[in-house]
Symmetry: C2
Subunit: 460 residues, 2 copies
């Protein structure tokens, strides 16, 4: 939080909001350390892991809201909490109606919440504080419950450091590329934070729409990188390109981006008589922004014909790759579900044959498929609950659908009243709390948060 | 088809459309019997069963369309096929813009398609023609793939007869109750056919809205009966009430109807200032009509506030009970999915414990849960495909969602442009064929139809 002092000093802004917020956070933190220092240190178990992770995300969002409130940019606690958890969960849904009037130090903090949340607060902690020992593993599982357990080998500190290393490197690369264009250093840093975290907070009222084609293509490229499994970046840096291009999820990811971009490009040229470059740029940007759950905007896609933006809605339900900073259901889950559905037909004809789902040449255990199916069903259930809640709060059908999936999928812009050029300011306080909860559920991939609400969790 | 001659003679209408249609159907049928009589009769296997059932439903819809075409009521084959398969699958989506101008003999045939399709064409054949022997079992499984295998004991002829007996009895009861009100015999018979089959075709342009409260309550009551598992009616007739009220699916069914009716009643009284009786009547009718997938209409629910009709949309995804004439996902599947999702949380904490889903006091095998999950996922996938197809054909978002679920769920009325007081006439021919396919998929519960399109099906 203190790093926000740099832009505050540089632009000659009031430094007190940042100082007050940091001091309050520090004192309360020290106080908690003091009153708990007599407890015996035990290894962190499964349950404690889930509880610590879920609470950590809530607590940092409470303290992270302080700079918004102390600076007067967002006076209401509900709004400030919404903006902060939207930042940390890399959703990028904003309640700000005039972003450009907010002090730069606060906009920097806003972008930083994305960047911290993108790679994961716990991953950061594990990378920095090796004192957690084996307990850190439990925390990592609770924060990154994705289905790539092979990356979580015992040397988790090394893994966490490696992931953060790649993350920092890619962020610096993007800053340089953006700075080389028309963006100043401040905007370059903020937008690079928001891109690599697949967040979507911009420092401009009209997001990326006002920037040059060069800048838009750079951001498109880095959004696509951010939506990839970071293990693949590790392979790339080590020259193992074969491993990257043999990855099923990565191929599916590129395939979806290509196909949907093509459909929308052709559609925009034919129906809106855009020139080809503009049509391609708007569609590839939108497709990359939505599938990676970033949520940057260059085009108001809901003004396109329904048969074009319906594909954008479909992307909202797909999400990025496992092991990326992107949210959503994730491509690997869809791959496993599609393969399994297809095989279920085979199983109907051959009820006694054991036909396992294969991924990357290996048979996937029933248990994982079972878990993925349960995940998707709960996801649909919670999405539907979100739609009902928004409708009950008075929103129309499209807005309800948009707000629910844009929050749960950590995307940001949805459809209807929360479309790409709208914001979340008009939503009643209760609605903001519900959407905040959906963001958290989405970021921690449902189970970690839901577990805490199950009686089984509290039974010994 | 020939029974349509009765209203034709009684009302002095042209009998030739019905005679031509019946004659053509008979001659082609006899021709097929003749050219195939030299084939050796073998027992019907799994594959043949699926193929026969799926083709039967398509073929009867082709021949069933003849009376509409010969009478000139629906000149286009696409439209007539749509109307007929909508009848047989008990969807009740209509392309007729002026129902009351159609000859009564044709309206009778239209209602009869519901009634034949409701209990199942194969079930009827098995009940009437015991010659099918053990092969009939395969056909029944393909037509009624629901998850109540216990009812399919070897004496299937007896079971099929028993189901049809209950069906006939309840239909006669409803005819009497309706006739006792202001409806004439003709309207009573047609509406009873459409109710007990959970179809939804009315003989009036404004469906049930113009009838008295008495008639509306009678239809509500019989819709609820039609959406129950027919095994429970069998128990009721034998005085085994305990068995009925201990049935988990039935309890969930009543619970959902009660809760949603209550919510909408209160909502209508508060927001639309309806009197309590009218609000209750409209809501219980709509709730029963949609959850049972009948699709009769007394109120234009999409003019209600969104936060009330959103619950109607939720009901569209629920559907009737297994072993009922209702369509949709079915309540038992939702029960199993909800229980399993809940247990999946438990399994996350206790990864090595075997925690089976229990239903009716018995543990349900993994395989069934797996199948139910795959069913639901494919259902959502096909629903989404339907939404995309409708949007690509130029419909708006709500209409696309409405047409897709109303067809796949065999409901009839949806939301948007295919709302309760609209019809399907405006949909382009390709859209009508796609929706017809969705109706068939929904009626045969996906797998039977999908299997035929899988390469595994055709491999020996």
């Amino acid at each position: 939080m203190l790093t926000s002092l740099i832009p505050a000093f540089y632009y000659g802004e009031d430094v007190m909001p940042v100082i007050y917020s940091s001091a309050l956070t520090l004192f309360i933190g020290l106080f908690i350390v003091l009153i708990t220092r007599n407890y015996k240190k035990k290894d962190i178990g499964k349950r404690e892991g889930y509880l610590i992770v879920a609470l950590t995300w809530v607590i940092i969002s409470v303290f992270g809201a302080l700079p918004f409130m102390f600076s007067g940019s967002i006076p209401s606690f509900t709004d400030a909490f919404f903006e902060t958890i939207s930042g940390f969960t890399t959703t990028g849904a904003s309640i700000l109606t005039d972003i450009e009037s907010v002090p730069k130090s606060i906009l920097f903090w806003r972008a930083l919440t994305h960047w911290i949340g993108g790679m994961g607060i716990i991953v950061l902690t594990v990378a920095i504080l090796p004192v957690l020992g084996i307990g850190g593993m439990q925390l990592l599982i609770a924060e990154m419950p994705g289905i790539t357990p092979d990356k979580l080998h015992p040397r988790i500190t090394a893994t966490a450091k490696r992931f953060w290393g790649i993350y920092v490197l890619l962020t610096i690369m993007e800053i340089i590329f953006l700075w080389a264009g028309e963006m100043g250093l401040f905007d370059s840093v903020c937008h690079a934070f928001a891109t690599m975290a697949t967040g979507g907070f911009s420092t401009k009222n009209n997001s990326i729409a006002g920037f040059s084609p060069y800048t838009q293509y750079v951001i498109t490229f880095f959004m696509i990188l951010a939506g990839m499994n970071f293990t693949l970046h590790y392979f790339t840096f080590h020259g193992k390109f074969k491993k990257v291009f043999k990855n099923e999820e990565f191929n599916a990811y590129l395939f979806i981006i290509l196909v949907v971009t093509l459909i929308i490009t052709v559609g925009l040229v034919l129906t809106e008589s855009f020139n080809v470059e503009k049509a391609f740029r708007d569609s590839v940007f939108t497709v990359a922004s939505i599938i990676t759950t970033t949520g940057f905007v260059t085009a108001d896609y809901i003004t396109w014909p329904v048969f074009l933006w319906i594909f954008v809605v479909v992307l909202m339900f797909i999400g990025g790759s496992a092991g990326s900073t992107g949210g959503g259901v994730k491509i690997i889950r869809h791959l496993l579900l599609l393969k399994n559905s297809w095989l279920e037909l085979k199983r109907t004809i051959h009820p006694f044959a054991v036909i396992p789902v294969k991924y990357g040449g290996k048979a996937i255990s029933q248990q994982i498929i079972f878990n993925v199916m349960a995940f998707f069903l709960i996801y649909i259930l919670i999405f539907s609950g979100g739609v009902i809640a928004m409708a009950v709060l008075g929103m129309d059908f499209e807005t309800s659908v948009g707000a629910s999936i844009a929050s749960l999928g950590n995307i940001g812009p949805g459809i209807g009243g929360v479309g790409p050029v709208e914001n979340y300011a008009f939503i009643p306080p209760l609605g903001k709390w519900i959407l905040s909860f959906l963001m958290l559920l989405g970021r921690l991939e449902l189970f970690t948060v839901l577990l805490i609400f199950s009686p089984a969790f509290w039974k010994r």
